[in-house]
């Protein structure tokens, strides 16, 4: 069914509980391979599983990283013995100060800046690395808004693979440094992320990209599953309970879609009680195609040309956008956006109240949280989780104008006393 670009056969593959690729649109199944689009309808392919019986105790006995959930992921059982970044099990910060300031009863921040390369991307890349090994690829690649490029080059270095990653040329300096310091090739393209993505899609059909694993293109079905671990961890860290409300950032929409899938799997497997949850999607106003479609009552996305400081979310043509709309509507959540000024303000609010310095994407989620609370669209008594998916040090420019020394003085008590006055 699927047109694999390699001669790889399924007999030598070890993807643990994963059994097939399945089209999210039309349901057509195909063997596990380096494919991302359905040959019938171009719809995105997902992993289909046959899960073993999994208990809370088995998971809790696993390592303090995403591999504690390996029985629920498309990876071999011995993945813990392989060379990878072992990301995840990041802190779920009980955010009492921020909750008090916003008037919420229970709020947690899932702080994914604690990953090895300081964004949630280490989760998805770790799964893609195992897929690349399975398919015998020698080079790891991606199109990236920045965080992913660093996660890929680092993971390739650890795994002993070559790396060649592609970014838009106007990225933040810190993300460029992060993406290049681990070695491999970093290619900056004059254009937007969507231009870079298009370029990679063409490269993949060319002999130049032969035997390359593009983590978010031909390895995307595997890669995307890594975001389920955010859902698993949040539920486990809450004491094996689903949150009632969660605010998730939206770039391509893949992460939000997989968090929903992760929650549903936990219910199906009997690991948590089946209780309703609402998923709220957060975008920056300067790149809000999903939010615009939501507000207009549409179920298709009109692409936009991004213009926002939240560059990690600056995807103008989000492939999973329609699913974000479906999930927000199905769960009783919403899709909302905030301005760049609100993003900066929210970064400072989170830092000031909880000691968590978020990148701009975290400013987007916290900003949307604040906006939804102010407008009475969130239940202040419900258990709420907000995601911070990246590290503030990578987007220093966003807040630099607002984060300066309170005073510059000579080293004397008199000078300090005068500065305090």
């Amino acid at each position: 069914m699927a047109l694999a670009s390699t001669e790889t056969t399924t007999t030598s593959l070890d993807f643990g509980p994963a059994v097939a690729l399945s089209c999210r649109e039309c349901g057509a199944r195909s063997p596990l391979g380096p494919d991302f689009a359905c040959t019938e309808c171009f719809g995105p392919l997902e992993i289909a599983y046959e899960f073993p019986r999994v208990t809370r105790e088995q998971i809790a006995a696993g390592p303090a990283n995403i591999w504690r959930y390996r029985a629920l992921l498309p990876v071999p059982a011995d993945v813990t013995a392989k060379r990878n970044m072992a990301p995840g099990w990041t802190k779920l910060v009980k955010a009492d100060n921020l909750a008090r300031e916003l008037g919420l009863r229970s709020l947690h921040v899932k702080d994914d800046s604690g990953n090895p390369t300081h964004s949630f991307k280490d989760r998805v890349v770790a799964i893609a690395v195992e897929a690349a090994r399975n398919f015998g690829f020698h080079t790891l690649s991606c199109s990236s808004t920045g965080n992913l490029a660093g996660a890929v080059t680092a993971a390739a270095a650890r795994a002993g693979l070559d790396a060649c990653v592609f970014i838009p040329s106007d990225l933040e300096q810190a993300k460029i440094v992060m993406a290049s310091v681990y070695g491999g090739r970093l290619v900056a393209i004059d254009g937007s992320y969507d231009d870079v993505n298009r370029f990679c899609s063409e490269l993949i059909g060319d002999e130049l990209g032969d035997r390359w694993g593009f983590v978010n293109v031909n390895l995307r079905p595997y890669y995307a599953e890594g975001s389920k671990t955010l859902a698993y961890e949040i539920a486990e860290q809450l004491g094996w309970r689903l949150p009632e409300q969660i605010i998730v950032p939206v770039a391509s929409g893949s992460q939000l879609t997989k968090i929903d899938k992760g929650f549903k799997e936990l219910v199906t497997l009997g690991l948590v009680e089946d209780r309703p949850y609402k998923i709220f999607a957060a975008q920056a106003e300067g790149c809000s195609p999903v939010s615009a479609a939501y507000k207009a009552g549409h179920d298709v996305i009109r692409p936009v040309k991004p213009d926002t400081i939240a560059k990690s979310l600056a995807i103008g043509n989000p492939a999973d956008g329609p699913y974000v709309l479906d999930i927000a509507r199905r769960t009783g959540g919403a899709v909302e956006d905030v301005t760049d000024a609100e993003i900066v303000d929210a970064i400072r609010l989170l830092a000031r109240t909880e000691g968590v310095f978020a990148e701009t994407a975290g400013g987007v989620t916290v900003g949307v949280l604040r906006k939804l609370v102010a407008e009475g669209r969130l239940d202040p008594d419900a258990e709420t989780v907000v995601l911070n998916t990246g590290e503030g040090l990578k987007t220093l420019d966003a807040v630099a104008d607002h984060a300066r020394p309170t005073a510059v003085i000579r080293p004397s008590l008199d000078a300090f006393r005068a500065a305090l006055a």
Binding site: L3, F36, F42, V124, S144, S201, S254, V300
Partner: protein, 91 residues
Amino acid sequence: MSVSVRIPTILRTYTNGAAEVSGEGATLREVLEKLDADFPGIGARILDETGKIRRFVNVYVGEEDVRFADNLETATPSGVQISIIPAVAGG
């Protein structure tokens, strides 16, 4: 009004493996009609039952995503390159 059309891997079964084929037409709609005449069945892979571009397909005329232009009515001047690309998520 000859144009070139880049074919994604997933559709090369229709073009005998060719990554690029030549096409004809003054608009994208005409180019796709001619493409389907040359390679029967390929049109239904790109357009849905209502005749619209499938939501997981991106089509570019030159550098421009046709959703930013006039969709199927986008003009296809002689010599332009048209790219048909499956939508992919990113980050």
